[in-house]
């Protein structure tokens, strides 16, 4: 009976119901915004739908057709319990085709403790499911109107790692300092782990790996500094994480361990018409076992992106971005990768580059349309990275374009 019930309640039905409920909640809260906008309770949300097309790769879908798998819906609430404690949570529904698994998620659900504050210091602790707040755009990567473009720089914000990188269950601390002499300094530290569902594991390690992958450790720290009254802000971050793969009895792969370390430095300039930002990073990806017992690979990858936007008119802006990523800094053209696999994996899976142009138009202070075009090169940011798919991705050069409408409140 239970089995038949489980079969009747298919995941796609659950997702469909979830997105309908989210949309209704967004509509209800928008219509009654004045009623809920008291000082203790805040409710916000967003709805975004777009059209996207990727030619020459399975980045969005396997048939490379025009797709409407560009849906993002979210609603959040924050309630101030008293002067010291606050609770907050956000639920989202995402559909990005092959980019990440389709479905609902609890994005964050946390208790904030305002541990200490005075005129210049603020120290807060967060417990529960906390978001990654360490990279330039990590905390708003799913928020259509708060990120720089529809597809954010894959060199740092790789969609295949979205569910692991977006945050985890654990705790975070935020220390903030500001004065006239030093400016504003923010220090963030978080520790937690993500539970990886089977659907998410398919994106990360591929469908041929039948076992389970567990996120064992995730410790991250970052520090940001804005000089007094400056339009510049600078930041650095570090991440240390590890994963374990446990094979099932009949499996195409073996028990394995993965270590992923990630170090970034970033800068942003916010002028009246011009904005610039850049992030540079180095990552270390260690694989032990998994492909066969005794296998060991320890690679250091490097990458960066620079982007600029210009506000042409009050509501209309243009942007451009240039990204470069090398999975192995000692094999920038991927020749060694191809050689090590006997030519099964083409050399262009050793890097990922993107040159992008985009524009956005604000209809009002709460609605926008964005459009962009990407010239991609390489396959190092195509999921699953541990099992490259050269049949579906048989082109070194591929293109993506997207248009997305968004509304928020």
């Amino acid at each position: 009976m239970l089995t038949s019930l489980k079969l009747m309640i298919r995941p796609s039905h659950v997702s469909y119901c979830f997105v309908i409920v989210l949309c209704h909640l967004c509509l209800a809260f928008t219509l009654s915004a004045s009623e809920v906008s008291n000082k203790s309770l805040q409710v916000h949300g967003f709805v975004a739908q777009g059209v996207i097309d990727a030619s020459g790769s399975n980045y969005i879908n396997d048939d490379e057709n025009l797709s409407f798998e560009l849906t993002e819906v979210g609603i959040n609430a924050s309630y101030q319990l008293n002067d010291t404690f606050r609770i907050a949570g956000q639920a989202v529904y995402l559909n990005g085709g092959n980019r990440y698994h389709e479905g609902p998620r609890v994005d964050y659900l946390l208790l904030e403790w305002d541990a200490f504050h005075n005129d210049v210091w603020q120290a807060s602790f967060y417990f529960g499911r906390v978001k990654n707040n360490h990279w330039l755009h990590s905390s708003t990567r799913d928020i259509p109107f708060a990120r720089p473009s529809i597809i954010i720089p894959q060199v740092v914000y790789f969609d295949g790692f979205r569910d692991i990188a977006v945050g985890g269950d654990g705790a975070a601390v935020k220390l903030r300092y500001s004065d006239d002499a030093i400016g504003e300094i923010d220090f963030n530290f978080s520790r937690g782990e993500s539970s990886i569902s089977d659907d998410q594991a398919d994106v990360v390690i591929g469908k041929l790996a039948l076992g389970t992958i567990d996120h064992d450790l995730d410790a991250q720290a970052s520090i940001y500094w804005r000089p007094p009254y400056s339009q510049w802000r600078f930041g650095i971050s570090a991440l240390d994480s590890s994963f374990t793969y446990d094979r099932v009895e009949i499996d195409n792969f073996f028990d394995g361990d993965f270590i992923f370390q990630f170090y970034t430095a970033n800068a942003i300039y916010e002028g009246e018409f011009w904005q610039f930002s850049a992030e540079i990073f180095q990552e270390r990806f260690v694989t032990s076992g998994f492909y066969f017992p005794g296998f060991h690979r320890d690679e250091i990858g490097q990458g960066y992106y620079v982007q600029a936007s210009y506000q042409l008119q009050k509501d209309f802006s243009l942007m451009t971005r240039y990204e470069r990523f090398y999975a192995n800094k000692d094999d920038r053209n991927g020749a060694k990768l191809s050689q090590s696999t006997g030519g099964l994996v083409p050399s262009y899976f050793g890097f990922h580059h993107d040159t992008m142009i985009g524009l956005s138009y604000d209809f009002s202070s709460d609605s926008r349309v964005s459009a962009e075009y990407h010239w991609m090169e390489g396959g190092a940011r195509l999921s699953p990275i541990v099992q490259p798919n050269p049949i579906a991705n048989d082109s070194k050069n591929w293109q993506v374009w997207a248009i997305q409408f968004m509304y928020w409140f």
Partner: protein, 150 residues
């Protein structure tokens, strides 16, 4: 000689006055911005840095311990835009970015947005610890007016 100097000064003043009038006539509307708070805030003055800290949600309590409740007009409202640039020395989109990041990551809350100055004044009067801004003080009563020190 002194008569000549005084006469020259008067001409220069007249020219500057006329230029100022022409600039004002052809400029976007300029508002006189006044910072007001609920009487529980009990703060006669703030520095620009303190005001900026309050609006970027880095200072959440008044000196007397009362929680600060920040009210704003919509980001495309001319008064809000002038308040950001003139008083906070920030562009409106910078504040939007800070608030969105706090709201949609769970790490904080955004100010409460109201549609009109009348709503804002009413909210300031009724909400303990509230702060906001208006362009005309003549009809505003029962609130604390905060002087901003440069």
């Amino acid at each position: 000689m002194s008569f000549y100097v005084n006469y020259k000064d008067e001409i220069i003043k007249a020219i500057f006055f006329k230029i100022a009038v022409v600039i004002l006539l052809f400029s976007p509307q300029v508002y006189a911005i006044n910072i007001i708070s609920n009487i529980t805030a009990d703060t006669p003055s703030l520095s620009v840095t303190q005001l900026r800290r309050i609006y970027s949600m880095r200072q959440l309590h008044w000196q007397n311990g009362t929680p600060i409740v920040v009210y704003v007009l919509a980001s495309n409202n001319p008064l809000h835009q002038q308040f950001c640039k003139q008083q906070l020395r920030l562009f409106p989109y910078q504040l939007d970015r800070i608030w969105n990041k706090l709201t949609f990551s769970g790490y904080g809350v955004a100010p409460i947005e109201v549609a009109t100055q009348q709503e804002l004044i009413k909210a300031i009067k009724l909400t303990k610890g509230a702060i906001g801004y208006v362009d005309n003080l003549s009809e505003v009563k029962d609130v604390n007016v905060i002087k901003i020190d440069d």
